[in-house]
Symmetry: C2
Subunit: 410 residues, 2 copies
């Protein structure tokens, strides 16, 4: 684990206020780390609806497989998340470990096992000693409280250098509702449906199918548009719980006008959390926004943006503060999406660098070189073949990434 | 440019002997580098047939576009290759620059422009000052000689730390023929049809369509199965010239039994060159072979192998000598190809690490840890869902890669 906080970290960590219907606690159960909390528990009030998106990895972890199934019920009462061990690639033992955990939690809470959601993050391939978790469930249940939010965000950290929190307040048909969210993630970040681990809670009353539609739409423009190192995790999980305690007017469709402000606030909160993940990218010293326009489709724009964002040559050039736009061209070319060398235009830091397939007339590198020395880097890439657009976000590739990942287990 | 030779470099550089029908020279034309040759010229005897495979990048360089067109004639008389400037993303100016170069070369040699092939490697997006090339063509033509092979292999180097050469001697229907090849490449290596720049010559008499079929087949199992950094270049070019001077029996099909030994030798030579590229991967300290078996198809096996080979987390783990097989599992999972967690098996250095989706019974990490300390690393990944197989090769990701690429232009 890194000790120094990312230079891109927010100046202050947002405090999450209590949210009606949610009680939380973080504990130390000694799975891997010593001297810090590594387990979080959350109790959701009866009637809480749930939505989730998970990794599309074909070697998904046992907890992800459980959550996908349990989600079909649309109801949530309890959440158990540990760090230190991902319970991924642990075979039937991993499945049994999840089963024992949710059964024990259901007994403690007094709910159905299908209302218990679990997640694990940490080393892959090491059997999870679930006994350490089940042993503290009953005691943890007694310690649940409404004001533990920021401690929880810390409890699920692995190589993260700061806890990631976000909150929004918004109205649904005259009733004020709040959304609290937190997440973790710094490496193995290239979410493909969701990110490492992210939890969002609201006191709004929203049926599960509507909640799911809102979450999927928000994810597509936030967590699915960030990458640290192109390595999609086996455990990516993003869940949204709605306790209904705010008592807003009933809504039955994601297109309900009453949900317009909520949808906007949710989208903003998801993007806020996702960008906090990028800014804590392992070894990151620069935050990079890549705006792709003029692609054949929105999907093509995302593929091209990700090809640029994941290019080791682009990322090392950013680390070296080198406005090496030729590498952006190469990354566009390798993406496999429609592109035409002679219509491609690139701007860096708002300065036109290349236009219609060649260097811009009178291009002066001085302001671009100055932009590259900052921490917030902007690339604008216009493909010039259509109207598809997408913005993606990443960080640079530095020596610290190699230090962190060359010695993670040892 | 790096100065220290890669620790994975061959103990000795193979000397290439003269080959009937090919005359060569390397020159310094001052395009970018000072104090070293940066231009190679090769004359091919009348009647030489030619085959080529090129980058599939949609932002391919002007020389690549020219060669693709010229290849349709199937005949080659001259080759002009410069380093220091890739003439990629240089718009109409780049196309005009190629035209002036081939026209001038055709006039000097006394052949058709379509019999002149060109390639450029180096910085992207900077207009190529072709006047520096055309100015020395006539003089260079007078200096052509049969024994310049190894100097040439040096002239096309950029971040390479050693010249890459290979040779084979083999019989076609009783006649001895030879194949000489050399190539360059160290970074921006993820060939998608061919590698950066590779040239192979033979004195065998083989019609162009047959030559093309042989080259495409050989490439699929060599250059298309290596990666240094996943960054496919805009300039990848692999060409094969056959002067016919050996006077072997006529062949009309790639399936002709008389070509069996030749095909085998060509395949071996292409693989030899491709692996030399990986072993000179920017910053490489470890050479990694990834054997994928049991995939749904050969294509799926290659995709999975490349997903493992390009994973920054796998590559940094190798650099850190960490047998972190969990990252191999994650890379298999993100590949998008059919996989089943419960049938996946992994061996490292010949030792079974995981079997049927979980850690192998009685797994002892000691011999695996010892293997990771060596320079030649072997990963065997059995997907367990089919019969597709493919072997791919890569290198580790180290601090030196970041040093080299954070300051390439400056």
């Amino acid at each position: 684990m890194s000790s120094a906080v990312s230079p891109l970290a927010p100046k202050t960590i947002v405090d999450l206020a209590p949210l009606d219907g949610v009680r939380l606690v973080s504990l130390a159960c000694g799975l891997r780390y010593q001297g810090r909390d590594d387990l979080m528990l959350a109790e959701l009030a009866p009637g809480t609806t749930v939505a989730g998106v998970f990794t599309r990895s074909l070697t998904a972890s046992a907890p992800v497989l459980w959550c996908r199934e349990a989600l079909k019920g649309g109801s949530a009462r309890f959440l158990v998340v540990n760090s230190g061990n991902s319970n991924a690639f642990t075979g039937r033992a991993g499945v049994a470990s999840v089963k024992r955990t949710v059964d024990k939690a259901a007994a403690v809470v007094g709910c159905k096992p299908e209302e218990v959601f679990v997640a694990s993050t940490g080393t892959i391939g090491v059997p999870l000693d679930d006994g350490k978790i089940t042993a503290v469930l009953a005691d943890g249940f007694k310690k649940l409280a409404g004001d533990q939010w920021n401690q929880l965000a810390r409890a699920i950290m692995t190589t993260d250098t700061y806890p990631k929190t976000a909150t929004r307040t918004v109205k649904i048909g005259g009733t004020t509702v709040r959304i609290n969210g937190f997440c973790k993630g710094a490496g193995m970040i290239a979410p493909d449906m969701a990110t490492m681990l992210a939890y969002v809670f609201t006191d709004a009353a929203i049926p599960a199918p509507v909640l799911q539609e809102l979450l999927a739409a928000g994810t597509a423009k936030s967590f699915n548009c960030i990458t640290v190192d192109s390595d999609t995790s086996t455990s990516d999980t993003l869940m949204l719980f709605a306790t209904g305690k705010a008592g807003n007017v009933p809504v039955t469709s994601a297109k309900d006008p009453a949900l317009r402000a909520f949808k906007k606030a949710l989208d903003a909160l998801l993007l806020d959390l996702a960008l906090q993940v990028v800014k804590d990218g392992e070894g990151a010293t620069k935050f990079v926004e890549i705006r792709v326009t003029g692609a054949a489709s929105a999907r093509a724009a995302r593929t091209i943006g990700m090809s640029v964002a994941n290019s080791p040559l682009v990322k090392t050039a950013v680390a070296g503060e080198d406005a090496n736009w030729g590498r952006i061209v190469a990354a566009v070319g390798k993406s496999g999406e429609k592109a035409d060398r002679d219509t491609l235009s690139i701007a860096i830091g708002g300065v036109q660098v290349a236009k219609d397939g060649q260097i811009a007339e009178g291009y002066d590198e001085a302001p671009v070189a100055a932009h590259m020395k900052g921490t917030d880097i902007l690339f604008e890439v216009d493909i010039g073949v259509g109207h598809g657009k997408c913005t993606v976000w990443t960080c640079d590739l530095t020596h610290a990434y190699i230090d962190i990942n060359g010695s993670y287990r040892t």
